[in-house]
Amino acid sequence: MKKLFLLAASALLFACSDSDSGENTPERSVTQDMVPLLSAKKDFSKDTVIYLADSAKFVDKLIQIASFSDETPVELIYTAKAMASSIDIRLQVQPNSSGGSIFVSCNPNQDEKIVFNEPVFPAKSSKGFVLKYSDSLKVGKKIYYDILKFDASKSTQNLCNISKFYYGIHDGLVKVISKNGIELNRVSAKVYEDAEKRREEERARADSIAQAVADSIAQAKADSIAKAVADSILKANSISTEDSTNNTDAEIPEEIIDLAESVADCIKKAYSSGSLTAIKDCQL
C-alpha cells in the first residue's frame, strides 16, 4: 500500500514538473501526409492575384496569400478571397503536440472551423468533410500537381458556401465547385481582362442604343409638336380667309405656308437641342 502511494505521488510530481518547467514539452509535429503541404514553402507560386472562371462568362479575381512561418516545423496559413463573389477560403496547416492538424474555413460568415486532427489522406472530419490527396488535376488545358481536394458535399452540416475546392500544394486554389455543381476553374489574367473589355463594350453599346432611342423619341415629339403648330397656323389662316371672303375655294397664300414651315423647323431644332427658351423664341 505504501509502495502504491509512493508511486502515485512520484507520478503526480513528474506530471507537475513536466508542465511547469517546459523543458520536456512534447515536440510539435505533423503527420507524414502533411509534410508536402509545408515543404511547398520552397516553391510556392508567387502569384498573389489569381482568377477563376466558369464555362460561360463569369470570371472573378481573388487575392491569395500563403504565409509560411519561419519556425520548425513550418506552419502554413493560406487564404483566398474573391473580389466579386463570396468565395473565401482559409487553410491552416498547423504542427502541434498531437501530430498536427489542418483547419479549413470556407464561408466568410461562419466562424466555426472544420478540423482534421492527425490527418492521413483521405481524412474525414467528425461532420463528414473529406480531405483527399491526388497527384495531379487537369484544369482547362493546364495540369496542376499535388492536389488537396476538400469535399463538403457529403457532410452532415455543410458550413461552407461551396461544395468542393481543389488546392494545389504549389499553386494555391485551382478549382471551386458551387453547391449546385457549377465549376470555376483557374484561368489566366487575360480571361479576366477580356471579360472587362467585353463588359465595357456591352455597356457602350447599351448606352448608344439608349441614346438612339432617346433621340428618336425626342425627334418624334418635335415632329408632332411642329406638325401641330403648322396645322394650327394653317387652320387659323384658313378660318380668317373663309370669314373675310366666305369663299370655300380660297387658296392659302404661299407666305403663310412658308411661315408655318419655318416655325415648325425652328421648334424641331430647339426641341432637339433641349432648349425651352429656344422654343419660346420661335415666334411668328
Binding site: T48, A56, K57, F58, D60, K61, I63, I65, S67, T79, K81, A82, M83, A84, S85, S86, I87, N107, P108, N109, N161, I162, V176, S178, K179, N180, I182, L184, Y192, A195, E196, R199, E200, E202, R203
Partner: protein
C-alpha cells in the same frame, strides 16, 4: 465600492437623459443597492426592422450582368441583444448557390440620440459583398432634406457618410422611388504580416431603398447584379 459605482452610473444616466438615452441598459433599484442589465427587448427602429422586407425564407429574383438569373435567399434574420455591448443588433444573410454569394447585412440600434425622432433617423446597415464594404444610411433624413429644399429652395441636403439620395431609378423594367446610392469601400489585404490590412475608397456602388432593400450592386470590373422583379 460597487454600490458607489452603481449610484454614480445611475445619477449620470438620469442627468444625461435630458440630452440622450442611456442605450439599452436598464437600471433597477434593489434592496442591496442598484444593479444594471441589458434591456430585455432588442429594439431597433422601423428602417432597420423593415429594410428590404427581408424575412427568413424569402427569395428575391436577381440578374447578373453576365446574364445569370438567380435568387438571393434570406437564410438568416436575427434581431438580438448583444450581451457584451448591451446593444440591440440585427443580422441578415442573403445567399445564392451560384453565383456564389453570401451577403451579410448588419446593423446596431442607435446608442446615442437626442430624442426619439433623432433615434428613428439613425441606424446604418453595413453590407459586405466580396471584398467590398457598403454603409447604408437611413433614407429618412435624406428625404426630409430634399423636401425642405423643394419647399424653401435652401440647399440643406443631408450628406451621409457614404449615401446619396437619387430619387427614381428604373431597374430591369421596374421603377423604384426614393432610391439612395452608397459608394463602396474596398478591403485590401496586406501581404506583409507586419502591415495592417487596409480599407480604401472604391468605385463600387450599391443602390437601395427601404422597401426592397438592395436593388443593384455595381462593381469596379464592370459587372453588376440587379433586382429582377419582372421575371417573377
Amino acid at each position: 465600492m460597487i454600490n458607489l459605482y452603481s449610484k454614480i452610473l445611475f445619477f449620470a444616466c438620469a442627468s444625461m437623459a435630458l440630452l440622450c438615452s442611456c442605450g439599452e441598459i436598464e437600471i433597477a433599484s434593489q434592496d442591496d443597492g442598484f444593479s444594471q442589465k441589458c434591456a430585455s427587448s432588442p429594439s431597433i427602429n422601423s428602417f432597420q426592422k423593415n429594410f428590404g422586407g427581408y424575412k427568413k425564407g424569402k427569395s428575391i429574383p436577381f440578374k447578373h450582368s453576365d446574364g445569370y438569373l438567380f435568387s438571393l435567399a434570406v437564410t438568416d434574420w436575427d434581431n438580438y441583444m448583444d450581451e457584451h455591448s448591451c446593444q440591440a443588433k440585427l443580422d441578415i444573410l442573403l445567399e445564392s448557390a451560384y453565383p456564389i454569394y453570401s451577403i451579410p447585412l448588419s446593423t446596431t440600434a442607435p446608442t446615442f440620440y437626442y430624442d426619439e425622432s433623432h433615434k428613428s433617423y439613425s441606424g446604418v446597415f453595413e453590407v459586405q459583398f466580396g471584398q467590398y464594404l457598403f454603409y447604408l444610411d437611413n433614407p429618412l433624413p435624406h428625404k426630409q432634406a430634399i423636401a425642405q429644399k423643394n419647399l424653401d429652395g435652401k440647399d440643406t441636403i443631408f450628406y451621409g457618410p457614404d449615401s446619396l439620395y437619387i430619387g427614381k431609378m428604373e431597374i430591369n423594367g421596374v421603377t423604384y422611388d426614393d432610391v439612395l446610392v452608397s459608394h463602396g469601400r474596398k478591403y485590401e489585404p496586406s501581404y506583409d504580416i507586419h502591415v495592417m490590412d487596409k480599407v480604401v475608397l472604391s468605385d463600387a456602388k450599391l443602390y437601395y431603398q427601404e422597401k426592397k432593400g438592395i436593388l443593384k450592386i455595381e462593381l469596379e470590373d464592370g459587372s453588376h447584379i440587379a433586382i429582377n422583379e419582372k421575371e417573377k
